[in-house]
Symmetry: C2
Subunit: 308 residues, 2 copies
Protein backbone atom coordinates (compact mmCIF):
# COMPACT_ATOMS: atom_id res chain seq x y z
CA UNK A 1 0.00 0.00 0.00
CA UNK A 2 1.31 3.43 -0.96
CA UNK A 3 1.18 6.65 1.00
CA UNK A 4 -1.04 9.26 -0.58
CA UNK A 5 -0.76 13.04 -0.30
CA UNK A 6 -3.91 14.93 -1.20
CA UNK A 7 -3.88 18.70 -1.49
CA UNK A 8 -7.14 20.57 -1.95
CA UNK A 9 -9.67 22.86 -0.37
CA UNK A 10 -11.56 21.97 2.78
CA UNK A 11 -14.53 24.26 2.77
CA UNK A 12 -18.09 25.20 3.57
CA UNK A 13 -20.55 24.83 0.71
CA UNK A 14 -24.11 26.12 0.49
CA UNK A 15 -25.92 24.41 -2.35
CA UNK A 16 -29.22 24.92 -4.08
CA UNK A 17 -30.59 22.36 -6.53
CA UNK A 18 -34.08 21.82 -7.93
CA UNK A 19 -34.51 19.33 -5.07
CA UNK A 20 -33.72 21.62 -2.18
CA UNK A 21 -31.08 23.77 -0.56
CA UNK A 22 -28.57 23.51 2.26
CA UNK A 23 -27.04 25.83 4.82
CA UNK A 24 -23.26 25.77 5.12
CA UNK A 25 -22.20 22.13 4.93
CA UNK A 26 -18.87 20.35 4.63
CA UNK A 27 -17.35 20.65 1.17
CA UNK A 28 -14.12 21.26 -0.72
CA UNK A 29 -12.07 19.31 -3.23
CA UNK A 30 -9.67 17.95 -0.60
CA UNK A 31 -12.61 16.69 1.46
CA UNK A 32 -14.30 14.88 -1.43
CA UNK A 33 -11.01 13.42 -2.68
CA UNK A 34 -10.08 12.26 0.80
CA UNK A 35 -13.44 10.65 1.53
CA UNK A 36 -13.39 8.81 -1.79
CA UNK A 37 -9.80 7.61 -1.33
CA UNK A 38 -10.59 6.45 2.21
CA UNK A 39 -12.59 3.56 0.73
CA UNK A 40 -9.29 1.92 -0.23
CA UNK A 41 -7.72 1.96 3.25
CA UNK A 42 -4.74 3.90 1.97
CA UNK A 43 -2.45 5.88 4.23
CA UNK A 44 -3.65 9.31 3.11
CA UNK A 45 -3.16 12.84 4.36
CA UNK A 46 -5.14 15.88 3.32
CA UNK A 47 -3.09 19.08 3.08
CA UNK A 48 -5.32 22.12 3.37
CA UNK A 49 -6.27 25.14 5.45
CA UNK A 50 -9.40 26.07 7.42
CA UNK A 51 -10.43 28.88 9.75
CA UNK A 52 -11.23 28.92 13.44
CA UNK A 53 -14.89 28.51 12.48
CA UNK A 54 -14.32 25.00 11.15
CA UNK A 55 -16.02 22.42 13.40
CA UNK A 56 -13.87 19.82 15.10
CA UNK A 57 -16.51 17.22 14.21
CA UNK A 58 -15.67 17.62 10.51
CA UNK A 59 -12.00 16.93 11.25
CA UNK A 60 -13.03 13.97 13.39
CA UNK A 61 -15.17 12.68 10.55
CA UNK A 62 -12.08 12.53 8.36
CA UNK A 63 -9.88 11.09 11.11
CA UNK A 64 -12.43 8.36 11.69
CA UNK A 65 -12.00 7.41 8.04
CA UNK A 66 -8.26 7.04 8.70
CA UNK A 67 -7.47 10.26 6.87
CA UNK A 68 -4.49 12.04 8.43
CA UNK A 69 -5.55 15.64 9.13
CA UNK A 70 -2.23 16.90 10.52
CA UNK A 71 -1.68 18.66 7.20
CA UNK A 72 -4.83 20.75 7.60
CA UNK A 73 -3.64 24.06 9.01
CA UNK A 74 -6.12 25.81 11.30
CA UNK A 75 -5.91 29.61 11.15
CA UNK A 76 -7.69 30.46 14.38
CA UNK A 77 -8.44 34.08 13.56
CA UNK A 78 -9.45 33.29 9.97
CA UNK A 79 -12.60 32.05 8.29
CA UNK A 80 -12.95 28.88 6.25
CA UNK A 81 -13.25 29.09 2.46
CA UNK A 82 -16.93 29.36 1.53
CA UNK A 83 -18.59 28.61 -1.79
CA UNK A 84 -22.25 28.84 -2.64
CA UNK A 85 -23.85 27.76 -5.90
CA UNK A 86 -27.19 27.13 -7.51
CA UNK A 87 -27.74 24.40 -10.09
CA UNK A 88 -29.99 24.87 -13.09
CA UNK A 89 -32.80 22.47 -13.84
CA UNK A 90 -30.69 20.27 -16.12
CA UNK A 91 -28.08 19.91 -13.31
CA UNK A 92 -25.34 20.29 -15.92
CA UNK A 93 -24.70 23.97 -15.28
CA UNK A 94 -24.65 26.14 -12.21
CA UNK A 95 -24.26 29.71 -11.08
CA UNK A 96 -21.77 30.59 -8.40
CA UNK A 97 -23.58 32.78 -5.88
CA UNK A 98 -20.78 33.42 -3.39
CA UNK A 99 -17.04 32.78 -3.29
CA UNK A 100 -15.31 33.87 -0.09
CA UNK A 101 -11.67 32.77 -0.29
CA UNK A 102 -10.96 33.73 3.34
CA UNK A 103 -8.00 31.67 4.66
CA UNK A 104 -7.50 30.16 1.21
CA UNK A 105 -6.20 33.51 -0.06
CA UNK A 106 -2.86 33.00 1.65
CA UNK A 107 -2.82 29.23 1.64
CA UNK A 108 0.69 27.88 1.81
CA UNK A 109 0.40 24.10 1.91
CA UNK A 110 2.85 22.23 4.15
CA UNK A 111 3.23 18.50 3.57
CA UNK A 112 3.61 16.67 6.89
CA UNK A 113 7.16 15.35 7.36
CA UNK A 114 6.14 11.69 7.38
CA UNK A 115 4.32 12.03 4.05
CA UNK A 116 7.17 13.67 2.11
CA UNK A 117 8.16 10.24 0.78
CA UNK A 118 4.62 9.39 -0.41
CA UNK A 119 4.49 7.38 -3.63
CA UNK A 120 1.29 9.03 -4.85
CA UNK A 121 0.31 12.71 -4.87
CA UNK A 122 -3.12 14.02 -5.80
CA UNK A 123 -3.13 17.74 -6.56
CA UNK A 124 -6.72 18.92 -6.22
CA UNK A 125 -7.97 21.99 -8.08
CA UNK A 126 -5.95 24.97 -6.79
CA UNK A 127 -3.66 27.65 -8.20
CA UNK A 128 -1.05 25.71 -10.25
CA UNK A 129 1.78 27.44 -8.39
CA UNK A 130 0.34 26.15 -5.11
CA UNK A 131 0.09 22.67 -6.64
CA UNK A 132 3.74 22.94 -7.71
CA UNK A 133 4.85 23.98 -4.22
CA UNK A 134 3.51 20.68 -2.91
CA UNK A 135 5.55 18.70 -5.44
CA UNK A 136 8.64 20.71 -4.50
CA UNK A 137 8.28 19.62 -0.86
CA UNK A 138 8.47 15.91 -1.64
CA UNK A 139 11.74 14.37 -0.43
CA UNK A 140 11.56 11.56 -3.00
CA UNK A 141 10.07 11.78 -6.45
CA UNK A 142 6.52 10.36 -6.29
CA UNK A 143 5.77 7.40 -8.53
CA UNK A 144 2.47 8.94 -9.56
CA UNK A 145 1.27 12.54 -9.56
CA UNK A 146 -2.36 13.25 -10.50
CA UNK A 147 -3.52 16.81 -11.09
CA UNK A 148 -7.01 18.27 -11.35
CA UNK A 149 -7.53 21.78 -12.67
CA UNK A 150 -10.20 24.02 -14.14
CA UNK A 151 -10.82 26.76 -16.72
CA UNK A 152 -10.33 29.51 -14.11
CA UNK A 153 -6.56 28.80 -14.01
CA UNK A 154 -6.38 28.73 -17.79
CA UNK A 155 -7.80 32.25 -17.77
CA UNK A 156 -5.70 33.61 -14.89
CA UNK A 157 -2.56 31.51 -14.49
CA UNK A 158 -1.94 29.74 -17.78
CA UNK A 159 1.83 30.05 -17.62
CA UNK A 160 1.95 28.52 -14.13
CA UNK A 161 -0.39 25.78 -15.26
CA UNK A 162 1.84 24.94 -18.22
CA UNK A 163 4.83 24.76 -15.88
CA UNK A 164 3.13 22.53 -13.30
CA UNK A 165 1.66 20.03 -15.74
CA UNK A 166 5.15 19.33 -17.08
CA UNK A 167 5.78 17.56 -13.77
CA UNK A 168 2.72 15.34 -13.50
CA UNK A 169 1.70 11.91 -14.76
CA UNK A 170 -2.09 12.16 -14.98
CA UNK A 171 -4.34 15.16 -15.56
CA UNK A 172 -8.07 15.08 -14.91
CA UNK A 173 -9.96 17.79 -16.76
CA UNK A 174 -13.43 18.21 -18.15
CA UNK A 175 -14.28 18.25 -21.84
CA UNK A 176 -14.76 22.00 -22.17
CA UNK A 177 -11.54 22.66 -20.29
CA UNK A 178 -9.62 20.25 -22.51
CA UNK A 179 -10.93 22.16 -25.51
CA UNK A 180 -10.00 25.50 -23.96
CA UNK A 181 -6.48 24.35 -23.04
CA UNK A 182 -5.72 23.08 -26.55
CA UNK A 183 -7.99 24.94 -28.93
CA UNK A 184 -9.06 21.57 -30.33
CA UNK A 185 -12.69 20.47 -30.45
CA UNK A 186 -12.16 16.74 -31.00
CA UNK A 187 -11.26 15.24 -27.62
CA UNK A 188 -8.96 12.68 -29.24
CA UNK A 189 -6.86 15.50 -30.70
CA UNK A 190 -7.11 17.61 -27.53
CA UNK A 191 -5.88 14.68 -25.44
CA UNK A 192 -2.85 14.20 -27.71
CA UNK A 193 -1.93 17.87 -27.39
CA UNK A 194 -2.24 17.70 -23.60
CA UNK A 195 -0.01 14.62 -23.55
CA UNK A 196 2.62 16.70 -25.36
CA UNK A 197 2.40 19.24 -22.52
CA UNK A 198 3.56 16.69 -19.94
CA UNK A 199 1.08 14.17 -18.53
CA UNK A 200 1.35 10.74 -20.15
CA UNK A 201 -2.21 9.98 -19.06
CA UNK A 202 -5.16 12.26 -19.72
CA UNK A 203 -8.56 11.73 -18.14
CA UNK A 204 -11.34 13.79 -19.70
CA UNK A 205 -14.46 13.98 -17.53
CA UNK A 206 -17.75 14.40 -19.37
CA UNK A 207 -20.17 14.48 -16.41
CA UNK A 208 -23.29 12.47 -17.17
CA UNK A 209 -21.58 11.22 -20.34
CA UNK A 210 -18.79 9.47 -18.47
CA UNK A 211 -15.02 9.76 -18.70
CA UNK A 212 -12.28 9.00 -21.22
CA UNK A 213 -8.76 7.81 -20.39
CA UNK A 214 -6.02 8.44 -22.96
CA UNK A 215 -2.51 6.94 -23.01
CA UNK A 216 -0.40 7.06 -26.16
CA UNK A 217 -2.75 5.79 -28.86
CA UNK A 218 -4.99 3.95 -26.38
CA UNK A 219 -8.41 5.15 -25.34
CA UNK A 220 -10.68 3.79 -22.64
CA UNK A 221 -14.24 4.96 -22.08
CA UNK A 222 -16.10 4.62 -18.79
CA UNK A 223 -19.74 5.66 -18.95
CA UNK A 224 -21.49 7.35 -16.09
CA UNK A 225 -24.11 5.11 -14.58
CA UNK A 226 -27.54 6.30 -15.76
CA UNK A 227 -29.30 7.48 -12.61
CA UNK A 228 -32.94 8.13 -11.86
CA UNK A 229 -32.00 11.30 -10.12
CA UNK A 230 -28.92 13.46 -9.75
CA UNK A 231 -29.62 15.12 -6.44
CA UNK A 232 -26.47 17.26 -6.14
CA UNK A 233 -23.50 17.10 -8.53
CA UNK A 234 -21.19 19.01 -6.15
CA UNK A 235 -17.96 17.11 -5.59
CA UNK A 236 -18.60 14.45 -8.23
CA UNK A 237 -15.44 15.32 -10.16
CA UNK A 238 -13.33 15.35 -7.00
CA UNK A 239 -14.87 12.08 -5.84
CA UNK A 240 -13.99 10.60 -9.21
CA UNK A 241 -10.39 11.79 -8.79
CA UNK A 242 -10.27 10.44 -5.23
CA UNK A 243 -11.58 7.04 -6.24
CA UNK A 244 -9.21 6.90 -9.18
CA UNK A 245 -6.16 7.87 -7.15
CA UNK A 246 -7.13 5.89 -4.07
CA UNK A 247 -7.43 2.69 -6.07
CA UNK A 248 -4.06 3.28 -7.74
CA UNK A 249 -2.41 4.07 -4.41
CA UNK A 250 -3.84 0.89 -2.91
CA UNK A 251 -2.69 -1.37 -5.74
CA UNK A 252 0.61 0.42 -6.47
CA UNK A 253 0.14 -0.57 -10.10
CA UNK A 254 0.23 2.43 -12.41
CA UNK A 255 -0.17 0.62 -15.73
CA UNK A 256 -2.76 1.63 -18.33
CA UNK A 257 -4.63 -1.61 -17.68
CA UNK A 258 -4.92 -0.86 -13.99
CA UNK A 259 -5.86 2.75 -14.68
CA UNK A 260 -8.90 1.48 -16.59
CA UNK A 261 -10.07 -0.19 -13.41
CA UNK A 262 -9.23 2.98 -11.48
CA UNK A 263 -11.46 4.99 -13.82
CA UNK A 264 -14.31 2.55 -13.17
CA UNK A 265 -13.79 2.88 -9.42
CA UNK A 266 -13.78 6.67 -9.78
CA UNK A 267 -17.03 6.61 -11.78
CA UNK A 268 -18.60 4.23 -9.30
CA UNK A 269 -17.84 6.45 -6.32
CA UNK A 270 -18.97 9.57 -8.19
CA UNK A 271 -22.30 7.86 -8.90
CA UNK A 272 -22.88 7.61 -5.14
CA UNK A 273 -21.69 11.15 -4.42
CA UNK A 274 -24.48 12.78 -6.47
CA UNK A 275 -27.24 10.90 -4.64
CA UNK A 276 -27.31 13.24 -1.66
CA UNK A 277 -26.23 16.77 -0.72
CA UNK A 278 -22.52 17.41 -0.32
CA UNK A 279 -20.53 14.64 1.34
CA UNK A 280 -23.55 13.01 3.00
CA UNK A 281 -23.63 9.89 0.83
CA UNK A 282 -19.84 9.47 0.98
CA UNK A 283 -19.84 9.48 4.78
CA UNK A 284 -21.74 6.21 4.99
CA UNK A 285 -20.73 4.06 2.10
CA UNK A 286 -20.10 0.35 2.52
CA UNK A 287 -17.84 -1.99 0.59
CA UNK A 288 -20.88 -4.09 -0.22
CA UNK A 289 -22.60 -1.12 -1.84
CA UNK A 290 -19.50 -0.29 -3.86
CA UNK A 291 -19.11 -3.86 -5.09
CA UNK A 292 -22.76 -4.09 -6.04
CA UNK A 293 -22.47 -0.94 -8.12
CA UNK A 294 -19.24 -2.12 -9.74
CA UNK A 295 -21.27 -5.11 -10.88
CA UNK A 296 -23.81 -2.74 -12.42
CA UNK A 297 -20.98 -0.96 -14.27
CA UNK A 298 -19.82 -4.30 -15.61
CA UNK A 299 -23.23 -5.24 -16.96
CA UNK A 300 -23.66 -1.71 -18.30
CA UNK A 301 -20.69 -1.93 -20.64
CA UNK A 302 -19.51 -5.49 -21.09
CA UNK A 303 -20.46 -7.35 -24.24
CA UNK A 304 -19.30 -10.35 -26.14
CA UNK A 305 -18.54 -10.29 -29.84
CA UNK A 306 -16.97 -13.18 -31.67
CA UNK A 307 -15.05 -11.78 -34.61
CA UNK A 308 -14.95 -14.35 -37.36
CA UNK B 1 -31.22 -15.33 -42.22
CA UNK B 2 -34.33 -13.19 -41.91
CA UNK B 3 -35.96 -11.02 -44.54
CA UNK B 4 -35.81 -7.33 -43.72
CA UNK B 5 -38.21 -4.60 -44.82
CA UNK B 6 -36.81 -1.08 -44.56
CA UNK B 7 -39.05 1.91 -45.11
CA UNK B 8 -37.54 5.38 -45.29
CA UNK B 9 -36.69 8.30 -47.50
CA UNK B 10 -34.43 8.02 -50.51
CA UNK B 11 -33.34 11.55 -51.21
CA UNK B 12 -30.97 14.18 -52.43
CA UNK B 13 -28.96 15.94 -49.74
CA UNK B 14 -26.85 19.08 -50.04
CA UNK B 15 -24.60 19.41 -47.02
CA UNK B 16 -22.34 22.11 -45.66
CA UNK B 17 -19.92 21.44 -42.82
CA UNK B 18 -16.86 23.35 -41.57
CA UNK B 19 -14.87 21.01 -43.84
CA UNK B 20 -16.63 21.72 -47.12
CA UNK B 21 -19.91 21.50 -48.97
CA UNK B 22 -21.58 19.24 -51.48
CA UNK B 23 -23.97 19.61 -54.39
CA UNK B 24 -26.98 17.30 -54.40
CA UNK B 25 -25.72 13.88 -53.35
CA UNK B 26 -27.40 10.61 -52.46
CA UNK B 27 -29.08 10.70 -49.05
CA UNK B 28 -32.19 9.70 -47.14
CA UNK B 29 -32.89 7.52 -44.11
CA UNK B 30 -33.86 4.50 -46.23
CA UNK B 31 -30.58 4.76 -48.14
CA UNK B 32 -28.38 4.96 -45.04
CA UNK B 33 -30.29 2.17 -43.27
CA UNK B 34 -30.11 -0.03 -46.37
CA UNK B 35 -26.41 0.50 -46.95
CA UNK B 36 -25.63 -0.24 -43.30
CA UNK B 37 -27.80 -3.37 -43.25
CA UNK B 38 -26.22 -4.59 -46.50
CA UNK B 39 -23.03 -5.37 -44.57
CA UNK B 40 -24.83 -8.35 -43.04
CA UNK B 41 -25.86 -10.02 -46.32
CA UNK B 42 -29.50 -9.95 -45.28
CA UNK B 43 -32.34 -10.22 -47.77
CA UNK B 44 -33.45 -6.59 -47.51
CA UNK B 45 -35.80 -4.37 -49.47
CA UNK B 46 -36.03 -0.61 -49.26
CA UNK B 47 -39.58 0.75 -49.58
CA UNK B 48 -39.52 4.38 -50.68
CA UNK B 49 -40.37 6.83 -53.44
CA UNK B 50 -38.21 8.95 -55.78
CA UNK B 51 -38.84 11.26 -58.73
CA UNK B 52 -37.95 10.95 -62.40
CA UNK B 53 -34.81 12.95 -61.63
CA UNK B 54 -33.34 10.15 -59.52
CA UNK B 55 -30.27 8.66 -61.25
CA UNK B 56 -30.39 4.99 -62.19
CA UNK B 57 -26.80 4.67 -60.93
CA UNK B 58 -27.98 5.30 -57.36
CA UNK B 59 -30.50 2.48 -57.68
CA UNK B 60 -27.78 0.28 -59.18
CA UNK B 61 -25.51 1.16 -56.27
CA UNK B 62 -28.10 -0.30 -53.90
CA UNK B 63 -28.84 -3.31 -56.11
CA UNK B 64 -25.14 -4.09 -56.27
CA UNK B 65 -25.20 -4.29 -52.46
CA UNK B 66 -27.97 -6.90 -52.77
CA UNK B 67 -30.62 -4.45 -51.63
CA UNK B 68 -33.95 -5.12 -53.34
CA UNK B 69 -35.14 -1.84 -54.88
CA UNK B 70 -38.44 -3.07 -56.28
CA UNK B 71 -40.15 -1.29 -53.38
CA UNK B 72 -38.79 2.10 -54.46
CA UNK B 73 -41.58 3.68 -56.47
CA UNK B 74 -40.43 6.00 -59.27
CA UNK B 75 -42.84 8.89 -59.93
CA UNK B 76 -41.63 9.86 -63.40
CA UNK B 77 -43.22 13.31 -63.45
CA UNK B 78 -42.19 14.08 -59.85
CA UNK B 79 -39.04 15.33 -58.17
CA UNK B 80 -37.06 13.48 -55.51
CA UNK B 81 -37.22 14.65 -51.87
CA UNK B 82 -34.47 17.21 -51.26
CA UNK B 83 -32.93 18.30 -47.99
CA UNK B 84 -30.17 20.80 -47.44
CA UNK B 85 -28.48 21.60 -44.15
CA UNK B 86 -25.54 23.40 -42.67
CA UNK B 87 -23.68 22.14 -39.59
CA UNK B 88 -22.36 24.48 -36.95
CA UNK B 89 -18.75 24.39 -35.88
CA UNK B 90 -19.34 21.94 -33.05
CA UNK B 91 -21.04 19.51 -35.50
CA UNK B 92 -23.67 18.78 -32.88
CA UNK B 93 -26.29 21.13 -34.25
CA UNK B 94 -27.36 22.15 -37.70
CA UNK B 95 -29.67 24.48 -39.56
CA UNK B 96 -32.00 23.12 -42.20
CA UNK B 97 -31.63 25.38 -45.24
CA UNK B 98 -34.07 23.69 -47.63
CA UNK B 99 -36.72 20.98 -47.33
CA UNK B 100 -38.52 20.15 -50.57
CA UNK B 101 -40.83 17.22 -49.88
CA UNK B 102 -41.71 16.76 -53.59
CA UNK B 103 -42.82 13.14 -54.21
CA UNK B 104 -42.59 12.41 -50.48
CA UNK B 105 -45.67 14.55 -49.88
CA UNK B 106 -47.97 11.84 -51.23
CA UNK B 107 -45.78 8.86 -50.35
CA UNK B 108 -47.84 5.74 -50.01
CA UNK B 109 -45.41 2.91 -49.29
CA UNK B 110 -46.13 -0.45 -50.90
CA UNK B 111 -44.31 -3.47 -49.48
CA UNK B 112 -43.29 -5.86 -52.30
CA UNK B 113 -45.39 -9.05 -52.24
CA UNK B 114 -42.42 -11.34 -51.51
CA UNK B 115 -41.41 -9.30 -48.46
CA UNK B 116 -44.81 -9.27 -46.74
CA UNK B 117 -43.71 -12.22 -44.63
CA UNK B 118 -40.46 -10.57 -43.53
CA UNK B 119 -39.41 -11.37 -39.98
CA UNK B 120 -37.88 -7.95 -39.37
CA UNK B 121 -39.24 -4.49 -40.22
CA UNK B 122 -37.27 -1.25 -39.83
CA UNK B 123 -39.49 1.83 -39.91
CA UNK B 124 -37.24 4.77 -40.75
CA UNK B 125 -38.14 8.29 -39.69
CA UNK B 126 -41.42 9.18 -41.47
CA UNK B 127 -44.93 10.27 -40.50
CA UNK B 128 -46.05 7.67 -37.91
CA UNK B 129 -49.23 6.97 -39.91
CA UNK B 130 -47.07 6.08 -42.92
CA UNK B 131 -44.95 3.84 -40.69
CA UNK B 132 -48.15 2.15 -39.46
CA UNK B 133 -49.39 1.56 -43.00
CA UNK B 134 -46.29 -0.54 -43.64
CA UNK B 135 -46.97 -2.71 -40.61
CA UNK B 136 -50.58 -3.14 -41.77
CA UNK B 137 -49.39 -4.58 -45.07
CA UNK B 138 -47.43 -7.43 -43.51
CA UNK B 139 -49.11 -10.81 -44.11
CA UNK B 140 -47.52 -12.35 -41.01
CA UNK B 141 -46.70 -10.55 -37.81
CA UNK B 142 -43.00 -9.63 -37.90
CA UNK B 143 -40.82 -11.03 -35.11
CA UNK B 144 -39.13 -7.67 -34.67
CA UNK B 145 -40.26 -4.15 -35.54
CA UNK B 146 -37.79 -1.29 -35.04
CA UNK B 147 -38.96 2.31 -35.32
CA UNK B 148 -37.00 5.53 -35.62
CA UNK B 149 -38.72 8.89 -35.16
CA UNK B 150 -37.95 12.52 -34.37
CA UNK B 151 -39.23 15.57 -32.50
CA UNK B 152 -41.04 16.88 -35.62
CA UNK B 153 -43.66 14.12 -35.30
CA UNK B 154 -44.07 14.77 -31.59
CA UNK B 155 -44.94 18.35 -32.47
CA UNK B 156 -47.23 17.58 -35.44
CA UNK B 157 -48.52 14.01 -35.15
CA UNK B 158 -48.25 12.97 -31.53
CA UNK B 159 -51.47 10.98 -31.50
CA UNK B 160 -50.41 8.96 -34.56
CA UNK B 161 -47.01 8.43 -33.01
CA UNK B 162 -48.55 7.10 -29.79
CA UNK B 163 -50.69 4.73 -31.83
CA UNK B 164 -47.83 3.40 -33.96
CA UNK B 165 -45.36 2.84 -31.14
CA UNK B 166 -47.88 0.54 -29.45
CA UNK B 167 -47.11 -1.92 -32.24
CA UNK B 168 -43.33 -1.96 -32.23
CA UNK B 169 -40.60 -3.78 -30.31
CA UNK B 170 -37.70 -1.32 -30.41
CA UNK B 171 -37.66 2.46 -30.68
CA UNK B 172 -34.54 4.44 -31.54
CA UNK B 173 -34.73 8.05 -30.47
CA UNK B 174 -32.24 10.71 -29.42
CA UNK B 175 -31.86 12.03 -25.90
CA UNK B 176 -33.66 15.33 -26.43
CA UNK B 177 -36.53 13.57 -28.18
CA UNK B 178 -36.84 11.03 -25.36
CA UNK B 179 -37.12 13.96 -22.96
CA UNK B 180 -39.71 15.69 -25.12
CA UNK B 181 -41.80 12.54 -25.53
CA UNK B 182 -41.94 11.86 -21.79
CA UNK B 183 -41.36 15.18 -20.05
CA UNK B 184 -38.64 13.45 -18.02
CA UNK B 185 -35.07 14.73 -17.89
CA UNK B 186 -33.37 11.61 -16.51
CA UNK B 187 -32.98 9.18 -19.41
CA UNK B 188 -33.48 6.19 -17.12
CA UNK B 189 -36.92 7.50 -16.18
CA UNK B 190 -37.71 8.60 -19.73
CA UNK B 191 -36.86 5.13 -21.05
CA UNK B 192 -39.21 3.51 -18.52
CA UNK B 193 -42.05 5.77 -19.60
CA UNK B 194 -41.42 4.99 -23.26
CA UNK B 195 -41.44 1.26 -22.47
CA UNK B 196 -44.91 1.75 -20.98
CA UNK B 197 -46.00 3.25 -24.32
CA UNK B 198 -45.28 0.04 -26.19
CA UNK B 199 -41.71 -0.82 -27.18
CA UNK B 200 -40.04 -3.31 -24.83
CA UNK B 201 -36.64 -2.08 -25.96
CA UNK B 202 -35.62 1.57 -26.03
CA UNK B 203 -32.45 2.79 -27.70
CA UNK B 204 -31.50 6.37 -26.81
CA UNK B 205 -28.92 7.85 -29.17
CA UNK B 206 -26.63 10.50 -27.72
CA UNK B 207 -24.50 11.31 -30.77
CA UNK B 208 -20.84 11.71 -29.83
CA UNK B 209 -21.74 10.43 -26.34
CA UNK B 210 -22.86 7.02 -27.58
CA UNK B 211 -26.09 5.12 -27.17
CA UNK B 212 -28.06 3.48 -24.35
CA UNK B 213 -30.16 0.33 -24.66
CA UNK B 214 -32.93 -0.22 -22.10
CA UNK B 215 -34.91 -3.43 -21.48
CA UNK B 216 -36.91 -3.89 -18.29
CA UNK B 217 -34.46 -2.93 -15.57
CA UNK B 218 -31.41 -3.60 -17.71
CA UNK B 219 -29.27 -0.89 -19.23
CA UNK B 220 -26.43 -1.23 -21.71
CA UNK B 221 -24.18 1.64 -22.76
CA UNK B 222 -22.23 1.72 -26.02
CA UNK B 223 -19.91 4.70 -26.35
CA UNK B 224 -19.27 6.41 -29.64
CA UNK B 225 -15.73 5.84 -30.81
CA UNK B 226 -13.74 9.03 -30.15
CA UNK B 227 -12.78 10.30 -33.62
CA UNK B 228 -10.13 12.76 -34.72
CA UNK B 229 -12.62 14.32 -37.04
CA UNK B 230 -16.36 14.16 -37.63
CA UNK B 231 -16.49 15.15 -41.27
CA UNK B 232 -20.26 14.94 -41.81
CA UNK B 233 -22.75 13.60 -39.23
CA UNK B 234 -25.56 13.25 -41.80
CA UNK B 235 -27.01 9.76 -41.72
CA UNK B 236 -25.14 8.61 -38.62
CA UNK B 237 -28.36 7.86 -36.73
CA UNK B 238 -29.85 5.97 -39.67
CA UNK B 239 -26.62 4.06 -40.18
CA UNK B 240 -26.73 3.11 -36.51
CA UNK B 241 -30.30 1.86 -36.94
CA UNK B 242 -29.36 -0.04 -40.10
CA UNK B 243 -26.39 -1.72 -38.48
CA UNK B 244 -28.45 -2.56 -35.40
CA UNK B 245 -31.34 -4.02 -37.39
CA UNK B 246 -29.17 -5.69 -40.01
CA UNK B 247 -27.22 -7.58 -37.40
CA UNK B 248 -30.41 -8.71 -35.66
CA UNK B 249 -31.97 -9.78 -38.96
CA UNK B 250 -28.86 -11.77 -39.83
CA UNK B 251 -28.69 -13.59 -36.51
CA UNK B 252 -32.44 -13.96 -35.96
CA UNK B 253 -31.76 -13.67 -32.24
CA UNK B 254 -33.74 -10.87 -30.63
CA UNK B 255 -32.61 -11.33 -27.02
CA UNK B 256 -31.29 -8.46 -24.91
CA UNK B 257 -27.83 -10.06 -24.95
CA UNK B 258 -27.77 -10.10 -28.72
CA UNK B 259 -29.16 -6.58 -28.91
CA UNK B 260 -26.10 -5.40 -26.98
CA UNK B 261 -23.95 -6.72 -29.80
CA UNK B 262 -26.33 -5.14 -32.31
CA UNK B 263 -25.85 -1.75 -30.62
CA UNK B 264 -22.08 -2.15 -30.91
CA UNK B 265 -22.43 -3.01 -34.62
CA UNK B 266 -24.65 0.04 -35.09
CA UNK B 267 -22.15 2.31 -33.34
CA UNK B 268 -19.29 0.82 -35.34
CA UNK B 269 -20.98 1.47 -38.67
CA UNK B 270 -22.01 4.98 -37.62
CA UNK B 271 -18.37 5.74 -36.79
CA UNK B 272 -17.49 5.06 -40.43
CA UNK B 273 -20.45 7.00 -41.82
CA UNK B 274 -19.31 10.34 -40.37
CA UNK B 275 -15.83 10.09 -41.93
CA UNK B 276 -16.92 11.31 -45.36
CA UNK B 277 -19.77 13.24 -46.96
CA UNK B 278 -23.12 11.49 -47.26
CA UNK B 279 -22.99 7.81 -48.12
CA UNK B 280 -19.48 7.93 -49.58
CA UNK B 281 -17.77 6.00 -46.79
CA UNK B 282 -20.57 3.44 -46.59
CA UNK B 283 -20.33 2.62 -50.29
CA UNK B 284 -16.86 1.10 -49.94
CA UNK B 285 -16.65 -0.53 -46.57
CA UNK B 286 -14.98 -3.92 -46.13
CA UNK B 287 -15.61 -6.66 -43.59
CA UNK B 288 -11.98 -6.36 -42.55
CA UNK B 289 -12.41 -2.68 -41.74
CA UNK B 290 -15.55 -3.38 -39.73
CA UNK B 291 -13.90 -6.14 -37.72
CA UNK B 292 -10.87 -4.00 -37.00
CA UNK B 293 -13.07 -1.25 -35.64
CA UNK B 294 -15.14 -3.69 -33.59
CA UNK B 295 -11.84 -4.61 -31.96
CA UNK B 296 -11.26 -0.94 -31.16
CA UNK B 297 -14.71 -0.80 -29.55
CA UNK B 298 -13.83 -3.79 -27.43
CA UNK B 299 -10.61 -2.26 -26.15
CA UNK B 300 -12.41 1.05 -25.66
CA UNK B 301 -14.86 -0.34 -23.13
CA UNK B 302 -13.78 -3.72 -21.82
CA UNK B 303 -12.17 -3.94 -18.40
CA UNK B 304 -11.49 -6.56 -15.84
CA UNK B 305 -12.41 -6.17 -12.19
CA UNK B 306 -12.15 -8.94 -9.67
CA UNK B 307 -14.72 -8.29 -6.97
CA UNK B 308 -13.48 -9.75 -3.75
Amino acid sequence: MSKLVIVGTVAFDAIETPFGKTDKILGGAGTFIGLAASNFNVDATVVSVVGGDFPQEYLDLMSNKNIDVSGIEIVKEGKTFFWSGKYHNDMNSRDTLVTELNVLEHFNPVVPENYKDAEVVMLGNLHPAVQMSVLNQMSTKPKLVVLDTMNFWMDCALEDLHHTIKHIDVITINDEEARQLTGEYALLVAAKKIQEMGPKYVVIKKGEHGALLFYNDNVFYAPALPLEEVFDPTGAGDTFAGGFTGYLAKTGNFSFENMKTAVIYGSTLASFCVEKFGTERMQNLTVTEIHKRLGQFKSLTQFDIELT
